[in-house]
Symmetry: C2
């Protein structure tokens, strides 16, 4: 018996009608001969309502109580989904995270799944149950208290179940119909990808293409879970959505798979920093402690024992970064002349596993930007990604130019 994991996000279960529509998709897979584990999110809006109550009650809340409150939303959807399936004469029952049990760390509000024993659910499958509906986003700590996995955690729940139960595939139903070469709102030429490699998806997810929670992709990559993203609002067919899979499973691909971007970046430059061993740690340690998510880092060539250090972070963390640097300067830990914040920049990246075997991708990218007279302020590269900071006003122009330059509206057969 082959087992399939299907996950439905909040918008896919927002009303009783949508739960019925989702249940029909489950029913089709059961008719196809699969046993199914369905992972559900809370009905759209519910989690925000619960989080709002907690924050209004206690701004610096006890995360254990936060988890007890917030986890209730998925419990409701799981029960309603099981009832809907039963109405369709499909043997189904619901499970809260603690009932499976989904064993997690004690890091409340951002717990990590440590183990999912399969015996409880498998015993029920053996008895004839066709669908186990599991409340996503939650588990139980070693102390026996309810934990949650952090926002978007239901994706991670789904992949973890797929890995634990050796599922043939993990289908993530959401409100978009797959992963695109770039945001269709920015470029009308954006094309849905049939397949994308785990590594590419990771770069795209962390760069702002928020289709899947990053941790779920990492987990899928580690356990080789075939992950499919598809819309619960579109008619279903076998090629629907985008399959996130191992690089080896991708037959056709372009050198570059997509153009990602992040709109609200700030470029921060510490001018004339006294350059000495350990200076990077003295700068980025306090920033990390202040909760600043530093992304790109560039250090200029040192002259006369002084250098300029540039980093990027989200615009809403600029004030925090400035305060952390001022404190470090006051404490005598670092020495700089001025901190210049440019909050009018954005980040644009091209991502693709094809870069590994193709030279000249960076040059092509810079050429395309130059042709539009777009000035590049910072460059960073990784094995499968090249990112640049540019003025925010050029965001749309840059994305479209790069999409055109790399022929992302067309598919080519993988040569490698």
């Amino acid at each position: 018996m082959s087992l399939l994991v299907m996950k439905f996000g909040g918008t896919s279960v927002a009303t009783l009608d949508r739960i019925r529509r989702a249940a029909k998709r489950v029913g089709r897979e059961v008719a196809n001969g699969h046993d199914v584990i369905v992972i559900v999110s809370a009905m759209s809006g519910k989690t925000n309502e619960l989080v709002g109550w907690v924050e209004e009650t206690s701004p610096l809340f006890d995360a254990r109580e936060y988890d007890a409150v917030v986890s209730s939303g998925e419990q409701v959807t799981a029960g309603l989904m099981a009832l809907t399936l039963q109405e369709m004469d499909i043997p189904a029952r619901s499970w809260a995270g603690w009932q499976v049990p989904v064993k997690t760390s004690s890091a409340h509000a951002s717990a990590r799944i440590e183990e999912i024993p399969t015996d409880n659910l498998n015993a029920k499958f053996d008895e004839g149950m066709k669908v186990a509906v599991v409340a996503g986003f939650q588990g139980i700590s070693p102390e026996g208290r309810i934990t949650t996995l952090g926002r978007g955690g239901s994706d991670t729940t789904a992949v973890a179940f797929a890995a634990a139960f050796d599922a043939i595939r993990c289908d993530i139903y959401t409100d978009v119909d797959g992963v695109y070469t770039t945001d269709p709102r920015i470029s009308s030429k954006a094309r849905k990808l049939d397949r994308i490699a785990f590594e590419e998806m990771l770069e795209l997810a962390s760069l702002g293409a928020k289709v899947l929670q990053t941790r779920s992709v990492e987990l899928a990559m580690r356990y080789k879970v075939r992950l499919r993203v598809l819309s619960s609002f579109e008619e279903y067919d076998e090629t629907a959505g985008t399959l996130v899979c191992d690089e080896d499973d991708i037959m056709e691909s372009n050198v570059v798979s997509g153009v990602a971007f992040s709109r609200d970046e700030a470029k921060m430059t510490l001018l004339s920093v006294a350059d000495r061993p350990g200076i990077a740690a003295a700068i980025f340690g306090p920033l990390a402690n202040a909760g600043v998510n530093v992304d790109m880092i560039v250090q200029n060539i040192s002259e006369d024992g002084r250098t300029d250090m540039t980093f990027s972070c989200p615009t809403n963390q600029v004030a925090r970064a400035e305060q952390a640097m001022l404190d470090a300067k006051t404490a005598g830990d670092i020495n700089y002349v001025e901190l210049v914040a440019d909050t009018e920049v954005c980040k644009v990246s091209v991502v693709g596993i094809g870069m590994r075997s193709h030279a000249g991708v960076a040059a092509q990218m810079f050429d395309a930007l130059k042709a539009e007279n777009i000035n590049i302020k910072v460059i960073t590269t990784s094995e499968i990604k090249i990112s640049v900071l540019i003025d925010r006003k050029y965001l749309e122009l840059a994305v479209q130019a790069l999409h055109d330059s790399f022929d992302l509206d067309k598919t080519t057969l993988n040569e490698g």
Copy 2:
């Protein structure tokens, strides 16, 4: 260390503001030196919303899934209450029913509490926790699934915890400020009782004075839990509310403690039933099977082997009763000429443990009704209660006349 149980109903925790107000009452008891177990209901309206979703999804729902869905409401309130107490610097944490664990039968949607182990909560009290906030209305079955106790079950949860933890008192905070001699909307002379005996409260509860769930009173009586009903919307003082307690603890009382009534009764009469041994079973068996809640039963003296049999039931069960009788007649199990339904009657009762030692209560009741020209259609009596069926249009008049006749607006010292 003395332990107090405090229960807050749905209207008392309907908003974050009301939860704060309830938490202040808990805080005062902690300041008084008590450890406290707080039992909470779902926020007012939440349970109805969840039940509505279940019923819309699946009219003949799986009660196990109903319980999984519906129990989530109390879980939310428990977390929010714990957070509110923590904000007041009171060491508190929440517990879902399954975490305590509240062990119940497997009768989903109407489970009975079988055991409440005290070690988990006591270990936390020993560590310095001052308040355990427990989600009411729920528990866990021997199979490890969430159960609920039926509507109003949080009262029963509260009393069960008071019994298990040997609490000095169980305070039930609700939206009325106590138990009255009769409904104040019917008689302006209605007086709040300072104390009432368990037995009286049971009769009043089952007769329609819906202040406490009947099962919670039974449980309190069995385990001698001192139960106090009081309003969460009134200023607090030591004599607030009504104490439901053992008969021996009541210093002052009238012969009759209260006048109860039930507005929507129907009087059903089977005319000319063939009278034979077993005829009562042949009539009331089918009625019970049809889910008709038969209350009063009167059999006329038999003449020529035939008799008239009269019973009462709620008006909304009349059609069901008629069908059950017709079916039994068709099956040849009973034989009657006609079934006459009078749906324009109501039941009025006087209740009081004083009746045990005072003769003439029935006579005084009938006199008071006769003085108002109210015709009595059916009479039944128990040790501490006398009930009559009368025309519904006389309901208010009868209640007021009886309240006056038994001097319920005045308190007298118990002679016994």
